[in-house]
Subunit: 593 residues, 2 copies
């Protein structure tokens, strides 16, 4: 088994170049942050990830979370790791200082979260759900709810969940049936929820469930949904834990992967109704939930990045160690076989592009949140809105291929579970599904994020990408010029796709939806390529100035060239599919399949 | 859970159009075969696959084969199914009549094998290994070995294995260490083998192991390898079973998938040496093994096709049943969501192209074997040699994506093991690895099959594809003309790739190897597209003549159009990667990864 090594050099370089780390630290509210501090935070996080989370990842897979009579025990080592995670302050680190978080830029917490995702996807979900619930409560909850629940949640003493899905209500929330009946200052909630991540466990003293349900007089559809906070144990006035609430974990799912993360079926109100508190206005449940959801979508994109990095490191370690056959390139181990090298280079190039995309989105969140100029804040928020489905959809889509190639690099050993490569593939497989499938991300992208505003934000982004590609194209550095040429072509291809979508969305939304996923892939490919190209440009400048680590910087330039030659070249086919593929996608009657 | 329905209509149509079923049945030796007989064979096979093999596939996965003290028990239902499989003659069906097989064309057995692969991949491997061993023994074994072993193996009373891999010798067979020492009329074999498919089990009375090992005076490397037949139980002169041989299954692997197929670690000669009989000449073990291997490679390609078909049917059933959200196309279930439809159409189009490719290769095997004209036989054999790595590499590569999309169509339910979609993904994952990874297939394709003969066979094939594409391009039928246009462009792109490979292979084999897998994908994409186009042409002709099932034929034309718009469009990027991608693939030092 390989050991995880946090890619600190690439993380910091990417944060500086595309995340504009210095400017981010200079934003109001982040004054205590500095690039040096960030570096030491990442170093510490890397040690925790490698030393605590990575070693228990396999136990999480093999043993998994176990249910018995409504009680769930986490896999061996998880409870201790979680206690340590909370004690050292990692749990609340991304939260605001108001309730005990560290109030660091999202750019910084994003890099840290990547490490948790990489080393222990299953474990990381507990924090993700908790902080998502914290965000929903802090945006929409009453002062009393905030005071009573948030400090313990940020500290990790209590964890949080999202109770959305029901057997008949997956992607379609309009058919949610769970009900809430008013009773004094609270409500009685009843219904059955499934796919509740970390819905029951023994890591924390209490679990704070956020539950989508309907009030008695609520209209049908999503406008009838309200959000309720139902703690596992009721909380007394003095903050101590009271009685057990009327809610129960009835079973855990047997899943393909992330076995360490208990996926609970929850039953609310079997004994008359779980006590719940309204969060936000009645009928605004969906809006409240979306606060969590957008947060979660970016996080799931980070899972795509994290699991890709870990699968790549695992495959790289094997390729550097396994001797098999005479290689064509002189290396003694299989990394010298050109096809093994191709798979590793493909993975590396995509991972670095995904990292650039995710960190760029994070830095825009910081600007949207903290920049003093309201117009810039709005621009950045629009960019975050545009990029959220791309980060989610594209990074997770890539992860499936990278984790699969990680198995392939191992040859026959990759198919043997003990090798560990297969776990990354199994774990990765959920990421294109939960928090909205890739299809749903893609529809969000073309509909709400592009067509609804007539393409304003994406056209502004395209203008920047186009300008950058022209500058690179004109570079005297042959590598940059090559990258610029490929990027310039790909940006033009993206323009074709955007033009076609905008021209057709009004009249033929179903034709646009048929090409939505290829379009999302096109957008990710090009935007990831653009940000990668910026890192190559910065690396080349440092190399030319004789600064920095030449081996790292040289690899960066070559890796981005690889991205241009192996990934950006796919843009044309994606555009062709978007523009010319809807006809046949929609051509058959149901019974002709 | 869905139930399997053999795609008889598409199978027969494809056999007739690209496999030239009538001409195949007219070849010397196949006179008893007729299209009507073939149709009834396929119907019966379909019933067996759906009625016997499909229902136990999940037990194979969940329970798997179990090892205890050297004894292996197959999963529940496998023993009974195997007995029935042999009794009804399915086991030996593809074998020659000489030892009890039915001597049917490979084209026919290929369609039948597709059904076993689709419904029970793990189960199907037992027959595949047995018939591979039968082929190696019948080509290279002495008359005595043939008489003593083959009839029972063809009947399935005894099964066969390939013992190749050792812990240090995976893809590189030159470092095999197992030894064989002469003793009278036999040898004493000793060594440790791993990854032995169906190496130990309780389905049959005896297991005939073919083992690669070295004689005492053998040279190093692959030229020192000889092949030995080591039965689990020795066989007396009268054919009855004698003593247990000195060989043992020491454990089974815990694998990602195909749990129903026991993957054994075998120990030979712990008590002084397993008795073995030389098969073929000393030092010719590799050649003998390749007889099995080529057979197995085409079969593994069929696994890619079979598991894709089954995963597609499973996803289709769910998509036709699951209600979720208002669809954009009017369907009541999720098949009406354009992106679900896109995934199903992509799968369908690729599956039908893979089927066309596999059946075409099979029909060429029949010609190579039975055609009275020696020159045509040689041409067909060259085509089979060229296509074998493409069938193996491309069909399995596609299968990973199709099985993964099968999970995606199910949404969250796809990640829950009980749904069954995940098994197809886990099972499929081995197919790009065993019997030679995709990288090895691709190197075989560009080296032995193209460069070594200066591209003669592929250029002849390209000439046919080009002529067909021009004919289609000129068609008055708009659909065919569209397909022809896309095909014509893609054939030209393939020519670029071939030209580049031939120009560079001599001087830069490592650069060619860097693009070998993209080239294999390109070849599969274009050849699959060409054969698909021929099926569309035939379907359009029948439609125009008012013959046949209009719904099926119309779907065929649309499906091939879909292939053109969604798959053939990828050819250009693959070519660009082959031609322009080697530089960066080979650019980094090992420690820069």
């Amino acid at each position: 088994m390989s050991t995880y090594s946090a890619p600190l050099r690439d993380m910091l370089f990417t944060m500086k170049v595309v995340g504009d780390l210095e400017a981010t630290c200079a934003l109001p509210g982040f004054e205590e942050c500095s690039p040096d501090l960030v570096e030491s935070i990442l170093e510490e996080a890397g040690k925790f990830a490698a030393g605590v989370l990575d070693p228990i990842n396999r136990a999480g897979d093999v043993q998994g979370a176990r249910w018995k009579d409504g009680v769930v025990n986490a896999a061996d080592g998880f409870k201790e790791a979680y206690a340590s995670f909370c004690e050292t302050g990692w749990n609340g680190m991304p939260a605001s200082t108001e309730f005990g978080g560290q109030g660091l830029p999202t750019l910084v917490s994003t890099a840290v979260l990547e490490m948790w995702k990489a080393t222990n996807h299953a474990f990381s979900l507990c924090q993700m759900l908790t902080l998502g619930a914290v965000e929903a409560i802090s945006h929409h909850g009453s002062q009393e709810l905030k005071a009573r629940f948030l400090p313990n949640m940020v500290a990790g003493r209590w964890t949080g969940t999202m109770n959305i899905t029901e057997p008949q209500a997956g992607s379609d929330l309009s058919v949610i049936r769970s009900r809430a009946v008013p009773e004094g200052d609270h409500y009685r909630v009843s219904g059955n929820k499934i796919f509740i991540t970390w819905g029951e466990h023994d890591l924390a003293e209490n679990i704070v469930h956020l539950v989508l349900a309907r009030l008695p007089d609520a209209p049908a559809g999503v406008k009838g949904l309200s959000l309720f906070l139902c703690p596992k144990f009721l909380v007394n006035e003095d903050g101590s834990l009271g009685e057990r609430n009327d809610l129960l974990c009835t079973s855990l799912e047997h899943k393909l992967g992330i076995h360490g993360s208990p996926t609970a079926a929850m039953s609310f109100g079997e004994k008359g109704g779980a006590i719940g508190y309204l969060v936000g206005e009645p009928g605004h449940g969906l809006a409240c939930m979306f606060t969590m959801m957008n947060h979660a979508r970016l996080n799931v994109g980070l899972e795509g990045l994290g699991v890709s990095e870990r699968a790549y490191q695992h495959a790289r370690a094997y390729a550097l160690e396994r001797v098999q056959g005479r290689t064509a390139t002189g290396s003694k181990t299989i990394i010298g076989h050109p096809d093994v090298r191709r798979m590793l280079m493909d993975s590396k190039a995509k991972i670095e592009a995904m990292r650039a995309l995710a960190y760029y989105a994070a830095s825009q969140m910081d600007r949207a949140h903290a920049h003093p100029d309201a117009e810039l804040r709005a621009q950045s928020q629009a960019l975050v809105d545009l990029l959220t489905p791309v980060v989610k959809g594209w990074c997770t889509d890539n992860a499936l291929g990278i984790a699969s190639d990680g198995v392939q690099v191992h040859g026959g050993m990759g198919f043997v579970e003990e090798t560990g490569a297969a776990q990354y593939l199994r774990d990765a497989r959920i990421t294109t599904i939960y928090e909205g499938t890739t299809g749903i991300q893609a529809n969000d992208l073309i509909g709400r994020k592009i067509a609804r505003e007539g393409g304003k934000t994406i056209r502004a982004l395209i203008a920047r990408m186009d300008a950058d590609s022209r500058r690179l194209l004109d570079s005297r550095d042959a590598s940059l010029s090559q990258i610029g040429l490929a990027l310039h072509g790909a940006v033009g291809v993206l323009v074709d796709g955007v033009d076609w979508l905008l021209a057709n969305y009004g009249e033929h939304p179903e034709r646009c939806a048929a090409g939505a996923v290829p379009f999302l892939r096109l957008a990710g490919t090009v935007i990831g390529g653009w940000l990668s190209a910026r890192t190559a440009e910065a690396a080349a400048a440092q190399l030319a100035a004789g600064e920095g680590d030449a081996a790292f910087l040289g690899a960066k330039v070559q890796t981005v060239r690889h991205y241009a030659a192996h990934v950006l070249v796919q843009a044309g086919a994606l555009r062709d599919t978007v523009v010319g593929g809807a006809d046949t996608t929609l051509s058959l009657a149901d019974d002709q399949f």
